[in-house]
C-alpha cells in the first residue's frame, strides 16, 4: 500500500474505476510493459507479529532497486518491484501466483515466515520461476521441502544454532551445564528446538526445562518465576518477533542474573528492548556494525533514506535483489534455468562481509559468515549501537560449510 494518503475518497474511487476500465478494455496494456521493464515480485509479512521485521525488508528492497536503476538497470531495462503483504501461507501462495501469471515477474524475493516460504516455493517450482528466501529459517526448507527453484540468502536454523553454540561453548555455558529453554509454540520454534537439542546432546549439556510458549503470550512473569526457581546455568529464549522484546524487557525488570542466549534473533527486537534491557548472546546473519566497505556503504545509504540503520532483515532483501540483478546482467538473460546453472556452479557474491558467499549446490543454502552479538548495556553510545559483535564465524581458515547442516542431518532431494 502506498504511504501517500492525500487522495480524497471520491478521487480514489474515480481513479480505481478508470484503472479498472482500462484493464478490462485493454488487457494487453499490462503485458505490453514487460518488454520495457523487468519486474521482481516482493512478498513478505507487513502486518501481524512479523510485520515490523517485514517492513525493513521492504525498505531495503526499494533502496536496492533505486541503486540498480541509477546504475543502468537490468539488461539495459528499468527494474520494477511489486511489493505485497504476504499475510499468511495461503495468501502468499495466491499472490505469488498472480505475480507470476499476471504481472510476469522474472523472480520472487522475500518472506520471514517459513510456512509462507514453503507455499511460495511450490508456486515457484510449478511455474519455473526463481525464488530467493530472505528470512525463513526452518531447516526443513533446505531439507525435506527443498526445491530446485528456491534459493536461500537467509541462514538456516542449523547455522544459527552452531554459530551461537560456538560462542556459548567458548563462555563455558554448554558442557555439563543446565539450560532452561523457552520455545515459541509453532513450526519455526519446533524446528529450532530440534536443532538446538541435537547440538546440546552432541556437546554434553542438558535441558533443565523445556517450555513451549504460545505465540500470543505477552507476559512472561510466571515463566520468570519458574526460571528463578530452576536456577539454570543458561536461559535459552527461542522466541519469535515481539516476544523477544517482551521477554528481554521483563527479564531485566525482574532482575534475574542467569546468562541469556537464543538461536533466533533480529536486531530490531533488541533495539525495541532498549540498551538498558538488551542482554545475552545471540546469532545474527548480518549487523550494521560490520567493518567492511560495502556494509558501510549500505548502512550510510539506508540511514540517509530512512533515518535509521538497517537490520538483518534489510540486509537479506537488499542482497537478494542485488544478486538477481548482478547475475542477470552477467548472463545477459533472465532465464531461470541459466541462472540456476550459474549459481549451482558456485558463482560467488559480495555479501558485505569479510569473505564472499556462494549458494551450496546440494541444498541452495547461501554459504556465508555469521556473527554473534551481545549487549553492552547502558554504556552504549546511542540507541542503535547497543551490542558488541564477535569476529566472523567460521574463522578465516575454516570452510564456510562447517556451521551448516550436513547431508546426513538434513537431506535434500532436489526435484
Amino acid at each position: 500500500m502506498s504511504k501517500d494518503f492525500t487522495l480524497s475518497r471520491r478521487a480514489a474511487l474515480g481513479g480505481a474505476v478508470a484503472a479498472g476500465a482500462v484493464i478490462i478494455a485493454k488487457p494487453s496494456v499490462i503485458l505490453a510493459q514487460t518488454s520495457d521493464v523487468i519486474r521482481f515480485g516482493h512478498l513478505t509479512p507487513r502486518t501481524g507479529f512479523l510485520g515490523p521485521l517485514g517492513e525493513y525488508g521492504v525498505m531495503a528492497a526499494d533502496l536496492a532497486v533505486e541503486e540498480i536503476n541509477a546504475a543502468g538497470g537490468v539488461l539495459g531495462r528499468k527494474l520494477e518491484i511489486l511489493k505485497e503483504d504476504s499475510v499468511n501461507p495461503q495468501t502468499a501462495s495466491t499472490k505469488a501466483e498472480r505475480m507470476v501469471e499476471r504481472d510476469k515477474v522474472a523472480a520472487i524475493i522475500g518472506e520471514i515466515s517459513s510456512a509462507s516460504c514453503l507455499t511460495i516455493a511450490q508456486v515457484a517450482q510449478r511455474t519455473k520461476t526463481l525464488y530467493i528466501n530472505t528470512g525463513g529459517n526452518s531447516d526443513a526448507l533446505r531439507g525435506t521441502n527443498c526445491n530446485k527453484y528456491m534459493f536461500h540468502v537467509e541462514s538456516q536454523n542449523s547455522m544459527y544454532v552452531k554459530t551461537c553454540g560456538r560462542s556459548l561453548m567458548a563462555q563455558g555455558l554448554v558442557q555439563g551445564k543446565k539450560w532452561f529453554s523457552l520455545t515459541a509454540d509453532y513450526a519455526f520454534g519446533h524446528d529450532l528446538l530440534k536443532v538446538a537439542k541435537r547440538f546440546m546432546e552432541g556437546a554434553g549439556g542438558q535441558f533443565a526445562a523445556d517450555k513451549l510458549v504460545p505465540t500470543d503470550l505477552t507476559d512472561f512473569s510466571a515463566l520468570l518465576l519458574e526460571i528463578r526457581n530452576a536456577r539454570p546455568d543458561l536461559v535459552i529464549a527461542n522466541l519469535a518477533g515481539n516476544q523477544i522484546t517482551n521477554f528481554l524487557k521483563q527479564y531485566s525488570e525482574f532482575g534475574l542474573q542467569f546468562p541469556v542466549g537464543g538461536f533466533g534473533f533480529d536486531t530490531a527486537l533488541a533495539w525495541a528492548a532498549g540498551k538498558e534491557n538488551f542482554i545475552g548472546t545471540w546469532p545474527v546473519v548480518w549487523h550494521h556494525l560490520i567493518d567492511t566497505p560495502n556494509t558501510k556503504k549500505f548502512v550510510a545509504a539506508f540511514t540517509a533514506k530512512y533515518r535509521k540503520p538497517p537490520e538483518n532483515q534489510a540486509w537479506g532483501d537488499y542482497l537478494a535483489v542485488k544478486i538477481f540483478a548482478q547475475s542477470m546482467n552477467e548472463l545477459k538473460s533472465t532465464d531461470s534455468a541459466k541462472i540456476i546453472e550459474h549459481w549451482e556452479k558456485g558463482a560467488t557474491f559480495d555479501v558485505m562481509k569479510t569473505r564472499e558467499g556462494y549458494f551450496r549446490a546440494r541444498d541452495h543454502q547461501m554459504m556465508h559468515e555469521m556473527f554473534t552479538v551481545s549487549g553492552v548495556g547502558a554504556k552504549a553510545p546511542n540507541q542503535w549501537d547497543i551490542f558488541a559483535a564477535s569476529p566472523a564465524v567460521p574463522a578465516a581458515n575454516e570452510s564456510l560449510e562447517v556451521i551448516a547442516s550436513t547431508a546426513e542431518e538434513n537431506e535434500c532431494k532436489m526435484a
Binding site: K3, F5, R46, T47, G48, F49, G51, P52, L53, G54, E55, Y56, D185, K211, L212, V213, P214, D216, L217, T218, D219, S221, A222, L223, L225, E226, R228, N229, N242, Q243, T245, N246, K249, Q250, E253, F254, G255, A268, L269, W271, A272, A273, G274, E276, N277, K308, Q383
Partner: protein
C-alpha cells in the same frame, strides 16, 4: 502447596489487574451505550505511543497523567463525532464502525511512527525488585498494581456514591425512563466514554515499559479483555473485577502446573464454559433493553 505455586497464583492475580483496566472501560461503554468498542485496544496503543513521545520531555511521571488525559479527550471526540450516532442502532453497526476504526488507528500509528517496535524502559526510580521471603516481585509492577487498584476504587465510588453514578446506572437499566424524568443522558455517555477510553490509555502508559510497543499492540490485549467482559457479565462492575482476577489466576495456575503452552487457550475454555452454562456471565445483570 509449594511456594512456587503460591507465587504463580499471586502473580496470576496481579496479572489480572492489567486486563481489568481495559475490560472495565469496555464494559462501561457497552452497558451504557450498547457500543461494542473494538477500537478499545487502539486507544491503549495510543496511550503507549504518547508515553514514548512525551516521556523524554515530561518524564514517565508526567506522561502518567498527561497521556491518559489526552487519550480520554480523543475518546470524547470520537464519542461526539461517531459513537453517539449509533447508540440507538443495531449493535452490529457500531461493531463495524469500531472494527474499521481499529484498523485505521493501527495504520495511522504505522504511518507516523513506522512499523518497527519502539523502545521505552522503566524509569530508574521505579526499577528494582521486592523480596518477601522467597517471594520476588518487580517494584514497577507493584506500583502498577497500586495505580490500577486506585483507579478501580475511584470508579466504584463514582458509580455507587455519587449522583452521577446513579444516573449512569439508571441509564444502563432503562434509558427511556431516565429521559422521561427530564435527564439528558448525552453528557453522561460522553463522560463514561471519556473515562473508559482514558483507562485504556492509562493501561497503555503503564504497560509501555514492560511490553513491546508496536502498531498492532492493541490486538494483543483486546481479545483477553473481551473474554473478561464476557465471563464477568455485562453491566456488572464486580463481575468484571472478579472475572479479570479469575482469568489471571487460572492462567497463573496453568503455568504453575507446568503447561505454559495452554496458558492462553485456557482462558478461552473458561469463556466457553461460561457461555454454555451461564450465558449472561458470572455476575451479569438482567438488562431490560438487551433482553
Amino acid at each position: 502447596m509449594s511456594t512456587l505455586f503460591l507465587q504463580h497464583l499471586a502473580n496470576g492475580l496481579l496479572d489480572g489487574t492489567y486486563y481489568l483496566l481495559i475490560a472495565l472501560g469496555l464494559s462501561l461503554i457497552f452497558s451504557l451505550g450498547g457500543i461494542v468498542n473494538l477500537a478499545h485496544g487502539a486507544f491503549y496503543a495510543v496511550g503507549a505511543y504518547l508515553t514514548v513521545l512525551l516521556g523524554p520531555h515530561i518524564g514517565f511521571g508526567g506522561a502518567l497523567f498527561v497521556s491518559p488525559l489526552l487519550v480520554a479527550l480523543l475518546g470524547v471526540a470520537f464519542e461526539r463525532l461517531l459513537f453517539q450516532r449509533f447508540y440507538r442502532s443495531d449493535p452490529i453497526l457500531s461493531l463495524l464502525l469500531t472494527f474499521g476504526l481499529a484498523l485505521v488507528a493501527e495504520q495511522t500509528l504505522r504511518m507516523i511512527f513506522g512499523a518497527p517496535p519502539l523502545s521505552y524502559s522503566i524509569p530508574s526510580w521505579l526499577r528494582g525488585q521486592i523480596f518477601l521471603g522467597d517471594f520476588i516481585y518487580s517494584r514497577y509492577r507493584a506500583t502498577l498494581l497500586l495505580i490500577a487498584a486506585t483507579c478501580v476504587a475511584l470508579i466504584w465510588l463514582l458509580l455507587n456514591r455519587t449522583a452521577f453514578g446513579r444516573v449512569v446506572k439508571a441509564g444502563v437499566q432503562n434509558p427511556d425512563m431516565v429521559g422521561a424524568l427530564g435527564i439528558s443522558l448525552s453528557p453522561y455517555m460522553m463522560t463514561v466514554a471519556g473515562i473508559g477510553i482514558g483507562l485504556a490509555g492509562l493501561a497503555g502508559v503503564l504497560l509501555a515499559p514492560i511490553y513491546s510497543i508496536h502498531p498492532a499492540m492493541g490486538q494483543d490485549i483486546i481479545t483477553p479483555a473481551f473474554v473478561v467482559v464476557v465471563i464477568g457479565g455485562l453491566g456488572s462492575f464486580w463481575g468484571v473485577v472478579v472475572a479479570a482476577l479469575l482469568v489471571g489466576l487460572v492462567k497463573g495456575a496453568t503455568i504453575g502446573l507446568g503447561y505454559p503452552q495452554w496458558s492462553t487457550a485456557v482462558i478461552y475454555l473458561m469463556m466457553l464454559l461460561v457461555l454454555l452454562f451461564r450465558p449472561r456471565g458470572l455476575f451479569g445483570e438482567r438488562i431490560q433493553r438487551f433482553e
